[in-house]
Amino acid sequence: MHLRAFLLSALRSATSGGRRYHLWMGGLTVIMLAGGYAYLEQANHGLVVTGMNDHVSWGLYISNLAFLVGLAAAAVILVLPAYILKDVDFSQAVLIAEGVAVSALVMCLAFVMANSPGWPWKWWRLAPGVGLLNWPDSMLAWDVILLNGYLVLNLAIPFYILYSHYVGREPLKRKYVPFIYVSVFWAVSIHLVTAFLFSGLTARPFWNSALLGPRFLASAFTAGPAFMILLLGFIRSNSEYPISDSAISKLATVTAVAAQVNLVMLLSELIFEFFTPTHHNISARYLFFGLGEHDALVPWIRTGIALNVTATITLMIHPLRKNPRVLMWACAALFLGIWVEKGIGLVIPGFIPSPLGEIVEYAPTWVELWVTAGIWAMGMFVLTVLVRVALPIELGVLRSPHLEDSQPYRVVRPRSTRTRYPDVRPVRKR
């Protein structure tokens, strides 16, 4: 009874909104349709319609995968303080962070599908029992398990909490907190394993570095919170949902610290690669300086690093970080900069030159660009729907019609003391 009402309310909530909302969702749908058409082209003709080739055998899709796994993992930055350390500031934002994780994972899985040509149903060969999952040998098999598991965790926990609120119950800690602990470790491992997917390959000296895993985490904890700040800023100015200044400023601090760690790691990579030039640094030379006339990625990576450095310095200066407008711009720059550096800037140079020293450059085709745009639009679509359903429930506006006492339910989970009486901090009992 309640479940049906929940699904109906969710559907209604996600499909109703103002003109701007419908324009946004309509725009996303158009991009998704275009992406779907491009995907059909690719499924019918094969990956020959992409810019990939025998030399550069992974391209834009795997680049986006590497980046988006980080965005998914970054939910832990809010989940850990909100649920385990009982941070009151993040308690309103954490459901949104989990929504970001879900949409990022949907995009990740879509990029895995797009990277393998043909129809996605051939993946039955991975299914336990009937298929053959090469676990534990294959890092990709680990990644499949971890990404899907993390998706389930990030769907199930918020669903339980939202549903409880919807039917006017307080969610039971003993029912969901154990899974929170699991998801914290899970978040770190999805991203580390994705790094190991690359760093474990001795064939590719550019990736074959012990620093790659930690660097993945640092960049994820930069781009993830940066995206959350942008999203929370948007939600705050467009809805009633209470997001405190201190939540944003804490996230900004996390972003600033992680961005600095990320730059330190970048610096140590650069020193490692260039202090004593060897044959192993040839891919790095290609990326940062170009090899003769082959220098397609040089402007790309330099733009990415310029964005990263500028945004990081901006965030390090307190008055600038505390200015909401500057903060938003810095976060946008950081998000873009990490996407440039960790996506194409990481994946493509691994293939150039080939292990036998041949240089073939890569540029994505229109099909790849459209499929990629379509998948991003799908992710944003999913995120919008999730946020659109979660906010009214958390605000107490959306409640099951079957409740006896149907008056708007007191906001429980976002510790309402904070928003109603901003001066009163809840006393913690020891």
Binding site: G46, L47, D54, S116, A127, G131, L132, N134, T202, P355
Partner: protein
């Protein structure tokens, strides 16, 4: 959609081709799991069923069976025979080719090894041509398993070598070094496969089950010798140039979207013949044989020549050595 999809199974059952054999639990699960998918696959063909000729119907049943087929290493002998029959029939229907596909297993007491004489190779590239013809490599994209690098005397830096030379050979002051799959004893391409579609056979040959490969290309990223190739589009081989003498794990037709590689001509060498590249080399720069046979030529080379292998520091242990006279 469901009309078209559902109709495949009953049709097959009527013909007695799908449910003829006893189905074990795993097989049944496999069919179930793939059923939905195959339904959609059939629907995607978008042909009204009643208009289908018997041959088209047969093709659809065969394609469905191909889609749901087991991993090669999990097949019983009977299932292998059935699979081979199906692939041969599909080649006939699709391309009007009469091919014979072997499933010859590794012979006991055989471990293949290869040696390449850099002082004899003159860069003629007859090996590449022989390989293309023997292994039915895609003519449209000019796929080649073998690379011949023209190297300047006095160095073995592949980054400075040229594999695309177009001039009279041998060029003054140069030597030639050929690469292909080295069938490493410790192949980095094998463990990375998420579905276990590639493995090493007891005779040392690293093979791929093309019907199981999902095309993720992790193995291509993992190979330090750039030995693997991908079918970016459907491979094209002119009908009169098809080598009908094929092996399931070797030179049979590859689908679009799967990885392929050199198998030391598995369809020849398991019958005691030489790989095509060895047979085609005019100066005789290539030596191939059984490493476990003390009287073989390869063993003589290993015992009496100065040898090196590429990227030894990666501990891949290639079974492919270079030597000079």
């Amino acid at each position: 959609m469901s009309d078209d999809g559902n109709s495949v199974t009953p049709d097959g059952a009527e013909d007695g081709t799908v449910l003829q054999k006893p189905v074990d639990r795993r097989g049944a699960l496999g069919m179930l799991a793939a059923g939905v998918a195959a339904g959609a696959a059939a629907a995607s063909a978008c042909r009204p069923l009643n208009a289908a000729t018997p041959e088209e119907r047969e093709l659809r049943v065969l394609e469905w069976q191909e889609f749901t087929q087991k991993h090669y290493r999990r097949m019983t002998d009977a299932e292998r025979a059935e699979t081979i029959q199906r692939i041969e029939r599909l080649a006939k229907i699709r391309h009007d080719e009469d091919v014979t596909i072997a499933t010859t297993d590794a012979q006991p007491g055989v471990l293949f090894g290869y040696a390449f004489n850099i002082s004899k190779c003159k860069g003629y590239r007859n090996c590449i041509e022989a390989c293309i013809n023997e292994n039915n490599l895609d003519r449209a994209s000019d796929t080649q398993y073998i690379r011949i690098f023209e190297m300047e005397d006095g160095g073995i830096n592949l980054e400075e070598a040229d594999a695309t030379y177009q001039h009279e050979v041998p060029a003054e002051g140069h030597f030639y070094l050929g690469t292909q799959c080295f069938q490493c004893a410790n192949p980095p391409c094998v463990p990375v496969c998420p579905v276990g579609a590639t493995w090493q056979e007891p005779d040392g040959i690293v093979v791929i089950d093309y019907n199981w490969c999902v095309g993720c290309r992790a193995c291509m990223a993992a190979c330090p010798y750039w030995a693997r190739r991908f079918n970016w589009a459907q491979a094209e081989v002119p009908l009169n140039e098809v080598n009908p003498n094929q092996h399931y794990l070797g030179n049979r037709a590859r689908k679009k979207g799967v990885v392929e590689k050199c198998t030391f001509c598995i369809h020849r060498t398991r019958k005691g013949q030489l790989p095509a590249c060895v047979a085609a080399c005019p100066p005789g720069a290539r030596v191939f044989g059984n490493l476990l046979d003390p009287d073989s030529e390869i063993r003589w080379v290993l015992a009496n020549k100065h040898l090196f292998r590429l990227k030894e520091e990666l501990a891949t242990e290639p079974r492919y050595w270079y030597f000079s006279d």
